[in-house]
């Protein structure tokens, strides 16, 4: 009996994937567990394993093509005429698709539970029993993303929920996966969604485009960056603090440590490794910044998930050093190097993006003196690091040469107030100016 191989959901935010490469062709026999294809999601390129065995009788999605979650990619043991119609098989392979998630986080599990509920409900209703108006596409996307339509505000005619509303609600939920947070984010987005009422898809003032101009289609990554950062700027009340720190002691220590390391394990520490270590340690001193806003509460995280902003070919990713407070400078340095290499090769796994609580973005290597980064939701704080710059400083009434570095922090004011943020910034400054303290 024919079985469909469908596009699996490989990450929380994935709505579609690009079939990068088929490892099997029509006529090939496959076993359960065989790597049959490579699929690019919004975050990474993943190998896709077979959950059924049989002979591939047709390939429905060619290399380079995109397909939404659940779309039939290939058919096993069919008659070669296309996808199998039998719902039983389709459901089976959909279940298998769920299993395919590598090392699912608890957050991912809670978000997949409502998906099953939504599928079994033909006409979703609100708590008061009123029928929810939603487009067929919105219902399909809601089922895929695990969004409960009861928590979504509709921006279409007569309050109909359209796809943009569901996607906004899904993005707003972040990785905390709490329904209350989801509802709050959706409510916060209602205004944004309303402005889309006349233009369904892009929320952009259209430029005048001439023939000489180049129009570049959005990659999944660009789309996610656009959605998440727009959401951040629209729903998070940002404020910004800056402090200049004396970088000379840190530079001196780094030189000494690198010279020592050359004779032992050979690891070369970057300036950023020390900044990360200082940011992590300071978050233990001022735990109020290591937190997230959920709509009706603030979650203060037990552990520090240090998101590191890494520029890649067509965008930027923020993989996470988990349980960062338990790791030594050497562990952090090695982990960041590994993450950076794999980020550029698009080999990071989706779960490596989960669990971040604070982000560090460092543009010092590009000669940037200072800047203000956008908070990376659902986190409450991002640190913007400038370069170490030689400049005159006044010390004891005398102008002397100094090596200075500008640190900025951008905060979610719903979680962190100015005084708390200042306390945190002072803690980071202290560690950088007395770097031996961070090694204790």
């Amino acid at each position: 009996m024919a079985t469909n191989i469908e596009m699996p959901k490989l990450s929380d935010t994935m709505t579609e994937g690009t079939l990068i490469k088929w490892h099997k062709q029509v006529g090939d026999e496959i076993e359960i567990g065989d790597v049959i294809a490579e699929v690019e999601t919004d975050k990474a390129t993943m190998e896709m394993e077979a959950f059924d065995e049989g002979t591939i009788t047709s390939i429905e999605v060619q290399e380079g093509e995109k397909a939404p979650i659940g779309a039939v990619l290939a058919v096993l043991d069919g008659d070669g005429s296309g996808p199998a119609a039998g719902s039983g098989d389709a459901a089976e392979s959909a279940d298998a698709g769920e299993d395919a998630k590598p090392a699912e986080t608890p957050a991912a599990e809670t978000s997949s539970a409502p998906a099953e509920k939504a599928q079994s409900k033909p006409a979703p209703t609100r708590a008061e029993g009123e029928r929810i108006k939603s487009s067929p596409l919105a219902r399909k996307v809601a089922a895929e993303l695990g969004v409960d339509l009861a928590n979504v505000n509709g921006s279409g005619p007569a309050g109909r929920i359209v796809r943009a509303d569901v996607e906004a609600a899904a993005n707003g939920a972040g990785s905390t996966g709490k329904p209350s947070g989801q509802a709050a984010a959706a409510a916060g987005l209602a205004a944004a969604a309303k402005s889309k009422a006349t233009a369904p898809a892009p929320q952009a003032i259209q430029p005048v485009v001439s023939e000489q101009d180049e129009t570049i289609e959005l990659t999944s990554m660009r789309r996610i960056i656009a959605d998440r950062l727009l959401l951040s700027k629209q729903t998070i009340p940002h404020f910004y603090l800056h402090a200049e720190v004396d970088a000379a002691p840190l530079m001196k220590l780094r030189k000494e440590i690198n010279a020592q390391a050359e004779q032992t394990h050979g690891n070369k520490y970057s300036v950023n490794d020390f900044i990360l270590k200082a940011a992590i340690n300071a978050a233990q001193t001022v735990p109020a910044v290591n937190a997230s806003f959920t709509g009706d509460a603030i979650v203060r995280f037990a552990s520090v998930g240090m998101s590191v902003a890494i520029a890649v070919e067509d965008g930027l990713v923020t993989p996470v050093i988990k349980n960062a407070e338990t790791k030594s400078l050497l562990q952090i340095s090695k982990e960041v190097k590994d993450l950076a290499v794999r980020a550029r090769d698009k080999k990071l796994k989706p779960n490596e993006f989960d669990g971040g609580t604070i982000t560090v973005s460092n543009l010092g290597a590009w000669g940037v003196e200072s800047f203000d980064a956008i908070v990376n939701p659902p986190q409450a704080m991002i640190i913007s690091v400038g370069g170490a710059i030689e400049k005159p400083v006044v010390k004891d009434g005398q102008v002397v040469p100094g090596l200075r570095m500008n640190l900025g922090i951008s905060c979610d004011h719903r979680v962190v107030d100015g005084a708390v943020a200042a306390e945190y910034l002072a803690a980071v400054k202290k560690l950088i100016e007395q770097p031996a303290l961070m090694l204790i």
Binding site: S135, T198, A199, P200, P202
Partner: protein, 328 residues
């Protein structure tokens, strides 16, 4: 190299090339030969090809369409001009009982390779009896093929495909398009044939799909410009070109891409082409719809004689823009 060419001259070039290619091709109709055609589509062809290939007929549609069908059953490839498609009704028995059914009823032994062509449009204030738009009507008869080109290039390419097809093909032209100009590939680049049953994306867009045929395609392109420049809405325009066979895959593809469809159809809404397109979309792409399918069709009344009112009875860019804004 393509050249700018009027729609009427693109059709004439198609006829001229096919007359040259196949000696069985004959053009017949009221005043197509010595008078050079009521709309000058056949201008100069009588002088070039003479009385055997360019034949003036009596004013009797039932008679000459029947004659054309009979000739086609014996191997001639007649191209019959109806001065208005509105005159189809006096030849209805020939057009649907004979042309459409002979191949089926002869068990496939006898083909009817006839082309019937002429203008089928409103908007010229010629009154209700001269303004019928019957492509949906004929597309409803199995055995008939129907197309409605919007541009000079498609007019030429579809006409050549129609003449070479072994089944009856009814080509719905438009008096208001005859004087429009567009790029048409040069014959030196090879035969320009547009296959029947193949729709064409005339404009790429991402927010919604305007699906139309015939002159409505031009209205959609104008509306898409306005939607983009004034409302920031990116509309894709799909030109069906052929009504039967209908390019179902192209329709579903654009709807799956944009998730919204506004159908624009110069025929009446009741049982029209857009009614069928609407049904196909909801049957095959229901889960891709983010909004109900809406339509802009000719308002349900006999063609109105007053120019101002007739203009609003028919689809036009303003009505399309309003419909899009209402339904989004």
């Amino acid at each position: 190299m393509s050249r700018k060419m009027l729609y009427r001259h693109a059709i004439r070039e198609a006829l001229d090339e096919e007359l040259a290619r196949d000696e069985n091709v004959v053009v017949m109709g009221e005043e197509v030969a010595q008078y050079n055609g009521a709309y000058k589509v056949t201008e100069g062809l009588w002088e070039k090809w003479g009385c055997k290939r360019m034949v003036d007929t009596p004013i009797s549609e039932a008679g000459f369409i029947g004659m054309g069908i009979g000739a086609s059953m014996l191997g001639v490839r007649p191209v019959m001009e109806l001065m208005f498609w509105s005159f189809h009704s006096v030849a209805f028995d020939q057009l649907v009982n004979n042309a459409a059914c002979v191949r089926y009823m002869s068990g496939g032994l006898i083909n009817v390779p006839i082309v019937v062509r002429g203008p089928a449009n409103g908007g010229t204030n010629v009154g209700a009896t001269h303004s019928h738009i019957p492509e949906g009507l004929f597309a409803a008869f199995p055995g008939l093929k129907v197309c409605a080109p919007a541009t000079p290039a498609d007019a030429k390419g579809l006409m050549k495909a129609a003449i070479r097809d072994n089944d009856p093909v009814y080509v719905m032209e438009n008096t208001l398009l005859y004087g429009t100009e567009g790029e048409v590939p040069d014959p030196s680049e090879g035969d320009h044939v547009v296959p029947l049953g193949k729709a064409d994306v005339k404009r790429e867009g991402s927010d919604l799909s305007l699906i139309a045929h015939g002159r409505s395609v031009l209205h959609c392109l104008a509306a898409a410009e306005t939607l983009q420049s004034e409302h920031g809405i990116s509309a894709e325009v799909l030109d069906l070109r052929s009504i039967r066979p209908l390019d179902q895959e192209a329709i579903l593809e654009t709807v799956r891409k944009t998730n919204r469809a506004v159908l624009v159809d110069e025929s009446k809404g009741f049982g029209g082409v857009s009614a069928m397109v609407s049904h196909l979309i909801q049957e095959h792409a229901f889960d891709y719809l983010d909004a109900p399918i809406t339509r802009v069709t000719t308002l349900d009344a006999p063609a109105i004689y007053s120019p101002h009112v007739e203009n609003d009875q028919l689809p036009n860019p303003k009505r399309i823009v309003e419909k899009v804004l209402q339904s989004s």
